[in-house]
Homo-oligomer: 265 residues x 2
């Protein structure tokens, strides 16, 4: 009856660590499934990603490592709800854009680097965890930075070289998917303030695609997008000719969307 013993051990682990025995059913987790989030933000003309610091003890030394925010899926929530829960915890924001892009299922994905595995082992009920990669888009200006968890940091997306587990791979896939989606859905506007200038929009495209565009051609194309509305409002107190503000009109978009390739710039 060896296997029964294993299960009793896991029961104890389950109800003593992640799930306390007093938790309602709604907080019980699925031990084999998690969600990891690549949270993109845009600030100071840079595409940024939120990463979390962890102190890892290994060979009697403490290493500082970075990972993506993530969590297990609960018994009675969709994976989108899991992603939104993680976002709320990390940024305090609700109602933001989240999108799943890929499942990572290597049976050894948590064991590739010894120090990472030692760190996570005591936090798991079962070390076989498939994770669903999500990316999400937030406007950094909306964040109350006092709510940001101490160990969370915004990093330039192009400075990310190494993360725990397979998180660098998850990040790379997220960036590919973001670039694709940007050309097919009106998601740019999730990263921009409600009122934005065309230069801000152009700089955002340039940050995401890591390139530069011609100003006149860019404006010509945006000019053809009907649901990007020019406002009768311009910048003030800028030391140069004040730029006009524009807004995304979601209603107009929903009505007029036909050509799914409108966003190619």
């Amino acid at each position: 009856m060896f296997f029964k013993l294993i299960f009793v051990e896991k029961l104890i682990a389950m109800f003593s660590s992640t799930n306390s025995a007093s938790n309602p059913d709604s907080e019980k987790i699925l031990e084999n499934i998690s969600v990891d989030c690549v949270i993109f933000g845009y600030d100071e003309n840079e595409l940024k990603v939120l990463v979390r610091k962890e102190s890892v003890l290994f060979n009697n030394s403490i290493y500082t490592e970075w990972k993506l925010p993530g969590n297990h899926v609960r018994r009675n929530e969709t994976i989108d709800a899991t992603a939104l829960r993680i976002l709320k915890e990390q940024t305090g924001l609700e109602k933001i854009y989240v999108k799943q892009f890929m499942v990572f299922s290597d049976p050894d994905r948590l064991k590739k680097r010894n120090q990472d595995y030692e760190w996570i082992k005591p936090r798991l009920i079962d070390d076989r965890v498939l994770t669903v990669g999500f990316y999400s888009l937030i406007n950094i200006k909306d964040i109350d930075n006092s709510l940001l968890i101490e160990d969370a940091k915004w990093t330039n997306a192009y400075d990310i070289k190494e993360l725990m587990f397979d998180h660098k791979e998850i990040f790379d896939e997220a960036l590919l998917k973001l670039r694709y989606d940007l050309l097919h859905d009106p998601i740019v506007f999730e990263l921009l303030p409600r009122k934005f200038t065309l230069t801000q929009m152009q700089r955002l495209y340039e940050a995401i695609f890591n390139t530069v565009y011609d100003k006149r051609n860019f404006r010509k194309k945006v000019g053809k997008i009907q649901y990007v509305i020019p406002l009768n409002e311009t910048q003030t107190k800028v030391p140069h000719s004040p730029a006009r503000y524009y807004m995304f009109d979601r209603n107009l978009y929903e009505q007029t969307k036909r050509d799914r390739f409108d966003f190619k710039i």
Copy 2:
């Protein structure tokens, strides 16, 4: 200690039904995660999908219903391995193209239609199952139809109206993803015989996109694709001018792929 009792029940279920106690670890399943496969084939100028028949008992009547082939993920396999295992079971084929496209995670996804839920309940350890949708591409001519399971059937993709659980939704998403991928990766050739004529290729595009193309324009574009090689071989015994055969040269593709949008037709 109510929860312990639940677990003992599940243990019994686990080791008496899906996993017998004598099974090696390699065949233990993850009870909360499955893979469902949308298997596309192309035959007689039609895009087809493999579906399975199930006899469902409900309200003392037996209903015939159709579902996508699927299975649970095993403890030590990737989800791609799960998909390939399903493909082998259903078609006898190995080394075929499989691609994950989306996770379906509604906690009630198996409970939406009572008759379906009654059918699957005794087959499950836990009724919360997230499923990863895969699509796969096979050349129907490669199939030894005597190996096809009795309850499996090839159906015209545009005739699929209703499937068990959320499988119609999974199918719809698969078709969207197939159409996208077709324009970005050289996957058409998975559905074609090794040597094919340009008309065969055109009919396949037309079947997948459910449209028609101009013959001359189609040939002009394919003519620019370097890794589609014309052969010195033509049809025989056809009651019309014999068509030239072409081949996909994967090596040449790997060397020359740059523009990821070569496949847009």
